[in-house]
């Protein structure tokens, strides 16, 4: 087991920076999710850690050992890293047992010992008795579990997951998520988990690294990522946050400040030391928005869409002050609004997104 260190890691293909100046540290035994839209560089990041690509600049360390820097690159086979591939990458010409036992064969583990370990690993992923089958005969979930068992057997110091649930259906995802969580608990292995699915990342990870256009934009615990996004991109990417233009009216006081948003005043949470400024942005969540009664201060506007969600309705709302801005929130049954109805809402709370310099 070992942690992972990346210092100023940059990877350039031609004149395109796939990964730009990424610095992060994953503690021994930590579960880190790397989250971002497709093309953000997260897969390149994984390939850099695994050693399939060499870094253009910076340094990668696994445990105490530097494995990549601009001068050289420890080959993947010497890194003791495990990978669970998106498409499973099971060898079609080998049985399940041969797939799982491959690492032991490479390490020249004695046969009966190897067989015991393979059986053990298969039992751990609930695939007892599947050893003689070929991957083609397995379902998607079973293949994923074989891939997990294969990874498990090698007892790697660091396990990389490359969007492992992308090819599975929703029900299977939930059960595989449990499986991964159990895997992490049982083995205590350091895990770097690449995904574009934030629900997955939130459910599994100790911390989440959000990437955008090759850069690491925020690295925090899921709760903090949600409540205190560091940039506009994170705010809107995580849980569909609503980003609104605002003006900061007062300096920070007890973790809050007053802002003017869409012509109304509101009190939002903020970082310590925020000062009044123009052209700020705040991030609101659906639950930060509530209905205001006529006569109360609030934002007038139009309901553009009302989608029934079972027990509640998701309302999309365009304020009269700036109809190009869309807000959304949920109302429990019964829903009094139809599409096109006029309504008045109030922004109860929010988060002042730090200015670019602070991020």
């Amino acid at each position: 087991m070992a942690g992972l260190t990346m210092r100023g890691v940059t990877k350039t293909f031609g004149d395109f920076d796939a990964v730009k100046d990424v610095t992060l540290e994953v503690a021994d035994g930590e579960f880190l999710a790397v989250l971002g839209p497709s093309g953000c560089g997260k897969t390149t990041l994984l390939r850099l850690v695994a050693g399939f690509e060499g870094v253009t600049g910076g340094e990668i360390g696994i445990g105490e050992r530097v494995v990549s820097n601009a001068d050289g690159n420890v080959p993947p086979e010497k890194r003791r890293v495990g990978i669970v591939f998106q498409n499973y990458a099971l060898w079609p010409h080998m049985t399940v047992a041969e797939n799982v036992g491959y690492a032991l064969k490479v390490a020249k583990v004695e046969k009966t010992e190897a067989k015991r370990k393979v059986d053990e690993a298969l039992a751990l992923v609930n695939l007892q008795g599947f050893g003689d089958r070929y991957p083609a005969k397995l379902s998607g979930g079973q293949r994923q579990r074989v891939a997990l068992a294969r990874c498990l057997v090698a007892a790697p110091s660091l396990v990389l997951f490359d969007e492992p649930l992308a090819n599975l259906d929703v029900h299977l995802r939930a059960s595989m998520e449990d499986e991964f969580a159990a895997f992490h608990k049982r083995t205590g292995t350091t895990i770097v988990y690449i995904t574009h699915d934030q629900a997955e990342a939130m459910a599994l990870a100790d911390r989440i690294a959000v990437m955008d256009q090759g850069r690491l934009v925020q690295l925090d615990a899921p709760r903090k990522l949600y409540s205190e996004p560091a940039t506009e991109m994170v705010a809107s990417f995580i849980a569909q946050g609503i980003v609104l233009p605002a003006k900061v009216l007062s300096g920070e006081e007890g973790g809050h400040c007053r802002v003017s948003v869409l012509g109304q005043e509101a009190v939002v949470r903020c970082r310590p030391g925020e000062q009044p400024r123009e052209a700020a942005k705040i991030c609101c969540r659906a639950q930060d928005i509530e209905m205001a009664a006529a006569g109360e201060p609030g934002l007038d506007g139009t309901v553009i869409r009302a989608v029934y969600k079972g027990g509640s309705t998701r309302i999309e709302f365009a304020p009269a002050a700036d109809p190009t801005v869309h807000l959304h929130f949920e109302l429990p049954d019964p829903n009094p609004f139809q599409e096109g109805a006029q309504a008045r809402i109030r922004i109860r709370s929010g988060w002042l997104i730090p200015s670019g310099a602070a991020a």
């Binding site: 695994a50 399939f52 050992r65 530097v66 494995v67 990549s68 820097n69 001068d71 050289g72 690159n73 420890v74 080959p75 993947p76 086979e77 010497k78 890194r79 003791r80 890293v81 495990g82 990978i83 591939f85 998106q86 498409n87 990458a89 099971l90 060898w91 079609p92 010409h93 491959y102 690492a103 064969k105 490479v106 390490a107 294969r150 090698a154 790697p156």
Partner: protein, 567 residues
């Protein structure tokens, strides 16, 4: 700590060195020797050979003729091979195994045998036409003595080549891609046009390049059909010059062969350019698409397909067989006159012919096994390597095959006329010089399908092995080779069949004791003993056919796609 990064990657180095050595010995060496002969005949620099070649009007005529039959033959082969591959792979036609077996046969028949068979079939002396009373009057011209005849036979010869490559590509076509298009409302022909054919582009383009290079370099067919009509292509021009002028014309002949090399390289570069334009890689692997039900068109289509077989395979071979049973020239064939004496003669009585069987078997097996073993690592670098020199290396391997066999034979002669330096080993006038030429010439036949094989394997499969700690050799042995072997072995099989009755190379390199079947066949034909040539042809065709059937029996134990003629 920094020291750990500069690890000695011995296995990677060993692989690169081995691949470089294979290419240097089999490709660079003969090429350099050949070019040396053009620019510096006799050791001093001179352009006289090139000037002499350019000044000769026969050069231009032969170049144009080469392009005409090369392109014509390629078009016929690509259209026929692709259509047949689509029908076989995508429809519910019955009796596929038998059909594929028959359709692939012409490829395993040496070009000179094909030419001989067709000439026997259509000529005024045709025992077959006499049998059905349709023989043209004696002295009338055989219609095959024409460019059209050459194009037709080249097309028939190489359609199976196209078929095999396209068929292999179709085998990898995941059903989801077809089903997704059909679910999108596309009819069968729309699916074919918008999904199947575009995805098959790399296979079809590769097949076209191969057919073009083969047609341009073919010697047997234009020799038999073109020379009587005085329609010379570059390979036959070279052969005539050499036969007439001896070593004195080596320089001029070398120039002509470089000319063919340039034409063939243009075809290969066009292929490279076309397959680079888009990414055609199929990432997922799954079951092949369900066969398309032909409904009431099934029987007519099946009949049409078998009529095709009758036309291109059964009738010519039947004509050849009849000739092999004739007791003597001019004697009409009947149940009374038919004899097996010709077979007895070539099998037991003629010493050279007997030796030739052993030699050709050994040469074909040796070349096939070596090529498969060499293609796996070479293709690894070509398909997945990042080294810049690999693309150049790939072109270098294409070169010996792109050049007609005559040229490689001359290059080999020039190389081994004297003993190999430092060792003193003299392989000139032995069977080993033929083996060397075969290895150099046929390696690419195994390399091409192997490279396509690599392209269609998801590299994550290797990476998965790599992260478990498996070194390069271990990965190759346990993961890569088993996945790519079917493609490589298909290539090896092609080599065996091509080499078994190969003529062009061995015709120039043989010596007493190292005759090949092709050489013996050729000398019988030259001596006017068509009946012996026909008997030999029938025997080699039977051996090949028997081998195909025999390997079919073990097909259950082989991975899918190893046997090209098995569906």
């Amino acid at each position: 700590m920094a020291q750990a990064l500069k690890e000695w990657r011995g296995q990677e180095m060993a692989l690169a060195v081995a691949v470089a050595a294979i290419i240097a010995v089999l490709s660079l060496l003969p090429m350099v020797r050949l070019v040396w002969e053009i620019v510096a005949p006799g050791g001093t620099f001179s352009l006289s050979a090139i000037n002499a070649g350019l000044a000769n009007p026969a050069t231009l005529t032969a170049t144009i003729n080469t392009l005409v039959v090369g392109i014509g033959g390629t078009v016929v082969a690509v259209v026929a091979g692709t259509v047949v591959a689509l029908v076989v792979a995508l429809t519910d036609m019955r009796g596929r195994n038998a059909f594929v077996l028959c359709f692939v046969m012409p490829l395993m028949i040496a070009p000179q045998v094909t030419a001989l068979a067709w000439l026997q079939l259509f000529g005024p002396a045709s025992p077959f036409l006499k049998l059905i009373g349709m023989a043209p009057p004696l002295g009338s011209r055989n219609p095959l003595y024409s460019p059209e005849g050459i194009i037709l036979l080249l097309g028939i010869q190489y359609a199976p080549l196209v078929f095999l490559l396209v068929r292999a590509g179709l085998r990898k076509l995941p059903r989801e891609l077809v089903e997704a298009a059909r679910a999108g409302g596309a009819g069968w022909f729309t699916v074919l046009r918008t999904v199947v054919l575009p995805l098959m582009t790399p296979s079809i383009v590769a097949a076209a390049a191969l057919a073009f290079v083969s047609s341009v370099g073919n010697f047997g067919i234009p020799a038999f059909l073109g020379i009587p009509a005085n329609y010379l292509v570059l390979p036959t021009l070279i052969y005539q010059r050499l036969a007439g002028g001896g070593p004195a014309v080596l320089g001029e002949v070398a120039f002509l062969s470089v000319l063919i090399g340039v034409i063939a390289m243009a075809g290969i570069l066009a292929q490279e350019a076309m397959s680079r334009r888009r990414d055609y890689r199929i990432s997922s692997t799954s079951l092949p698409a369900d066969p398309y039900p032909l409904g009431r068109f099934r029987l007519p289509l099946e009949i049409a397909m078998w009529v095709l077989i009758a036309g291109i395979l059964v009738l010519p071979l039947f004509g050849l067989m009849l000739t092999s049973l004739v007791p003597g020239h001019g004697i009409p064939l009947s149940s009374q006159t038919a004899t097996l004496a010709n077979y007895k003669f070539v099998l037991f009585e003629h010493a050279g012919s007997r030796r030739a069987f052993g030699n050709s078997m050994m040469l074909a097996l040796g070349a096939a096994i070596f090529a498969v073993l060499a293609a796996l690592p070479v293709a690894y670098l070509v398909a997945w390597g990042r080294q810049r020199w690999v693309r150049f290396a790939n072109l270098m391997i294409e070169l010996p095959y792109a050049l007609p066999g005559v040229v490689l034979a001359i290059a080999s002669l020039l190389l081994f006329l004297r003993p190999i330096p430092l060792t003193g080993i003299h392989i000139y006038n032995t069977v080993w010089i033929i083996l060397y030429a075969y290895l150099a010439r046929f390696l690419v036949l195994a390399l091409r399908p192997t490279v396509s094989g690599y392209h269609q394997v998801d590299r994550a499969l290797e990476e998965a092995a790599q992260v478990t700690g498996a070194g390069l050799f271990m990965r190759m042995r346990t993961v890569i080779f088993p996945l790519v072997a079917p493609a490589a072995m298909a290539g090896g099989l092609l080599i065996f069949m091509t080499a078994l009755s190969e003529l062009t190379v061995s015709a120039l390199l043989w010596s007493s004791g190292s005759e090949t079947i092709g050489v013996v066949m050729f000398s019988f034909e030259q001596g006017g003993d068509s009946k012996y040539a026909a008997a030999l042809s029938i025997i080699t065709v039977s051996i090949t056919f028997g081998l195909m059937l025999a390997t079919n029996m073990f097909a259950r134990h082989l991975p899918n796609g190893v046997l090209p003629w098995r569906d």
